[in-house]
């Protein structure tokens, strides 16, 4: 049987593609159901095609408010975590100092901790301090858990940098600031960008830590969580689909630019 033989030879590829399908399927469902007109409050069963939700994405109370809040928090959390994390990464790779082991553990532990544990303990701190829960407590929490991921991403890049490039800059009479801005930073930029992107995605999508520390403030994931109890508006799917399409377009555009640069460099 040639078919069976073909299947056996390509078993790994077939299994891999099946896994890929498993991972993509929910995104397809989210997309298809953004064109649904559900009968009841929940958008789980297909009824009929409709463009209502797409023509009025903010038509549900509080939805777009929570979205803009999530974007603002993600922006500032990314800025904070990227700045603090990049500094730590440079210190870890470029300098010798005491208590390196302790610093490394402090960076590693937040990544090896179930989110609920961090969420609950941080809330204990805020309750003890009498802090008012809201935008600031969520921002503090997000910077905290994004930090370690930024450090890891930037560290990997800085470690693979050739220190001779900076020595060469100094030999050519560049001052420390000039060397950093003109040589070190451009080389480290992809690592910093990767860290920032990761921080943004983690912050924007975080639910558990946010849910504990947000008080009555509602971020976008919290809005979705609430709607799973009260009734899911189709607009959620519209926003999910739009996010997906925009992100994939950005990634593909970046790939195209990178490819063109590569082929130009080859000429």
């Amino acid at each position: 049987m040639p078919v069976l033989r073909w299947i056996r030879r390509n078993l790994v590829v077939l299994a891999g593609l099946l896994t890929l399908a498993y991972m993509i399927l929910p995104n397809v469902v989210v997309m298809v159901f953004s064109f649904n007109r559900p009968k009841g409050r929940f958008n789980y069963a297909w009824q009929e095609f409709s463009l209502d939700a797409w023509s009025d994405p903010c038509g549900v109370a509080d939805l777009c408010g929570s979205l803009s809040l999530s974007l603002r928090i993600a922006f500032w959390a990314t800025a904070g975590a990227t700045a603090l994390g990049t500094m730590i990464a440079f210190a870890l790779v470029r300098y010798r100092f005491r208590a390196r082991g302790a610093v490394n553990s402090l960076i590693f532990l937040p990544m090896a901790m179930p989110e609920v544990v961090m969420a609950a303990s941080l809330l204990t701190l805020f309750l003890n301090m009498g802090a008012e829960l809201g935008f600031w407590t969520v921002l503090i929490a997000h910077i905290m858990f994004c930090l370690s991921f930024v450090v890891t991403a930037v560290k990997a890049r800085v470690m693979s940098m050739d220190p001779r490039l900076e020595e060469a800059a100094r030999d050519l009479y560049a001052g420390p600031v000039q060397t950093f801005v003109r040589v070190t930073l451009p080389i480290a930029a992809p690592g910093i960008a990767a860290g920032a992107l990761l921080a943004f995605a983690l912050s924007f999508d975080d639910f558990i830590i946010t849910n504990f520390n947000a008080g009555s403030t509602v971020t976008f994931p919290m809005f979705v969580w609430g709607s799973a109890q009260r009734g899911t508006p189709v607009q959620i799917n519209v926003i999910g689909t739009a996010m997906f399409v925009i992100a994939v377009a950005v990634v593909l555009a970046g790939q195209l630019v990178a490819n063109r640069r590569k082929s130009n460099a080859g000429k």
Partner: protein, 307 residues
């Protein structure tokens, strides 16, 4: 650093470079803000939580440290089913992630060719839609009377899973199977990416060499590829197991009261019942169990690497 060896070109430069104590302080200044942040908002909260877990009292009268260690015992005896379930579900999901993720990581690393970047984008792409929305999509996919349930019913698969205790009443939603399915789905990328990184580093010539030495593809995989990808397997399983064990989103959205995991209990105790000591004790036990599992696992896999 070679900086100090070079003779200063002119006095102004010497003035900048001479105070080496200032230079030695640079790493500490770089570390200070970030480390301070982690100390205050990660380490200090752990101390507060430890103290909360041995307090007694009520919301009205306030809580006091009374070294009431019994809270831990009560929490364990009251909620051990949820603990066992969390570890069981997280463990099963991790295993499934490994079984499903390995072929895909292998495909991207060795077979995808010019499609490699596209497949990588597709692996990461789900991240761009909020994971709660995607988890809710599973409610549609696994719905009663949906295509999946109907197909599995026709093939009598659900009878087998029901016999195993994974499903009930010919449905998947609100059963352990739905929760594990959701967990597996949500944490697959965390398994695939480290697997891919460690597979990609393997020198393709090693495979050729194994073939030249008359190893069958299966032997090549067992003796060359798998051992060399172990770092990816270890970090992938950790990145999957740790967050899965504390997750309560999948259990709440796809499960039922019988599939509650320990994260749900901590959440309810903390945010609704407002029994802070019990919540703190539960979360400490979870942390201890996870750290224990992780340490033992790293030790074990470390020694296996050496053999």
């Amino acid at each position: 650093m070679s900086v100090t060896k070079a003779p200063p070109a002119h006095p102004a430069e010497a003035a900048v470079r001479k105070p080496s104590t200032r230079r030695r302080l640079v790493p500490y200044w770089l570390l200070l803000p970030g480390i301070l942040w982690l100390l205050v908002f990660f380490a200090l909260p752990m101390v507060y939580q430890a103290s909360t877990s041995v307090q007694t009292g009520s919301l009205e009268k306030g809580f006091e440290v009374t070294w009431h260690v019994r809270t831990y015992w009560d929490a364990l005896t009251d909620y051990y089913p949820q603990f066992v379930r969390s570890l069981l579900y997280a463990g099963t999901a991790t295993l499934l992630c490994l079984l499903l993720g390995y072929p895909l990581a292998y495909l991207i690393a060795f077979k995808a060719g010019r499609w490699r970047n596209l497949v990588l984008v597709l692996v990461v792409a789900p991240f761009f839609t909020s994971f709660l929305i995607r988890t809710l999509a599973w409610k549609t996919i696994l719905a009663d009377g949906g295509a999946v349930v109907d197909a599995l019913n026709t093939l009598h698969v659900l009878d087998v899973t029901a016999w195993l205790g994974w499903t009930e009443n010919n449905r998947i939603l609100a059963t352990p199977m739905a929760v594990v399915c959701g967990l597996t789905y949500n944490f697959l990328p965390f398994m695939i990416l480290p697997l891919y990184t460690s597979l990609e580093r393997i020198d393709g010539r090693l495979h050729e060499a194994a073939g030249d030495l008359y190893a069958t593809p299966a032997t090549t995989f067992r003796k060359v590829t798998l051992p060399l990808s172990m770092p990816g397997v270890v970090s992938g399983t950790l990145l999957t197991f740790i967050p899965a064990s504390g997750d309560y989103v999948n259990a709440e959205l796809l499960g039922s009261a019988d599939t509650k995991m320990v994260g749900s209990v901590i959440q309810t105790q903390f945010l609704r019942v407002l029994d802070y000591p019990t919540a703190a004790a539960l979360s400490f036990i979870l942390m201890a169990v996870v750290l224990l599992v992780v340490t033992v696992y790293i030790r074990r896999s470390g020694t296996e690497d050496l053999v």
